[in-house]
């Protein structure tokens, strides 16, 4: 895991909030997106406004699919506060060489077999940024990526 990330996550865990943890299987595309579906149900049960739920769940879904297709899976964590929803996606994949480039609409390294599954247009990261209030990407080549997204309620 890239340096400095551990501390951030521990802080989140110390907080007064509801937290959930999901393992995202990187070997099986069939289950990709399952964690986000569960998170959407949790957020609905709590009763957040539908638009807030939609923003948080779309952003997480894009990130979860990315973990499966680009990073061999990982861990998704959800932290629910009174005034914000925080999603932390941690993987030990290849990392992102040029984050500014990866954030560009249309930039994708996804191979054709991923496009045949309906993904790989290079829209995920920009979409995650658009739907969240804060998005932080920590990444190190050969080590992995941690993406923290906050949606204010």
């Amino acid at each position: 895991m890239p340096a400095g990330l551990q501390a951030k996550r521990v802080n989140e865990l110390d907080c007064e909030c509801l937290s959930y943890r999901f393992e995202v299987d990187g070997s099986n595309f069939t289950t990709a997106g399952e964690a986000s579906v569960q998170v959407k149900r949790i957020l609905r049960r709590i009763g957040f406004p539908p638009e807030t739920i939609k923003r948080a769940s779309i952003a997480m879904y894009e990130g979860e699919i990315n973990m499966v297709i680009h990073a061999g899976g990982g861990i998704a964590e959800l932290f629910i506060y009174e005034d914000k929803i925080v999603v932390v996606l941690t993987d030990h994949g290849p990392g992102i060489a040029d984050v500014a480039l990866a954030m560009k609409e249309g930039y994708s390294t996804a191979p054709d077999n991923i496009r045949a599954l309906g993904f790989g247009a290079g829209m995920g990261l920009p979409n995650m940024k658009r739907y969240t209030d804060i998005m932080d990407i920590q990444t190190a080549l050969g080590k992995g990526t941690v993406i923290t997204m906050t949606v204010n309620v």
Partner: protein, 116 residues
């Protein structure tokens, strides 16, 4: 347009969540790229697609859609239908191709614009 009318215009079969077929939907979109649906679609309740995998249903759920139409006679697996049932998303299968299916629904009054 009611979900049941979508099925009848497209000469299709409702494969799950028939109980919501009386619900009204006001707009639709057609795409085989879930990336594009997630990035460009707004407030549309129906997704027409030629792609068949569980992510179609999950994408529709993320987008708060009510109905997925599989075109070109593509048959979703029991697993996909189980996911749709859990999500409360109606699934319709039709023999028409994407272009024809979209055209028929548009001509029937279901446009691409939400709430208009």
């Amino acid at each position: 347009m009611k979900i049941s009318e979508i099925a009848s215009i497209l000469n299709g079969t409702i494969l799950c969540c028939e109980e919501i077929s009386g619900e009204e939907v006001f707009s639709a979109c057609g795409s085989d790229m879930m990336s594009d649906v997630l990035a460009y679609v707004k407030n549309q309740a129906v997704l027409l697609t030629g792609l068949v995998n569980p992510q179609v249903i999950r994408t529709a759920e993320m987008m708060d859609m009510k109905c997925v139409v599989f075109v070109r006679n593509k048959a979703p697996s029991d697993e996909i239908l189980a996911i749709a049932r859990q999500s409360g998303i109606a699934v319709i299968k039709t023999a028409y191709r994407m272009y024809e299916a979209c055209g028929m629904l548009y001509a029937g009054g279901l446009t691409g614009k939400a709430g208009e």
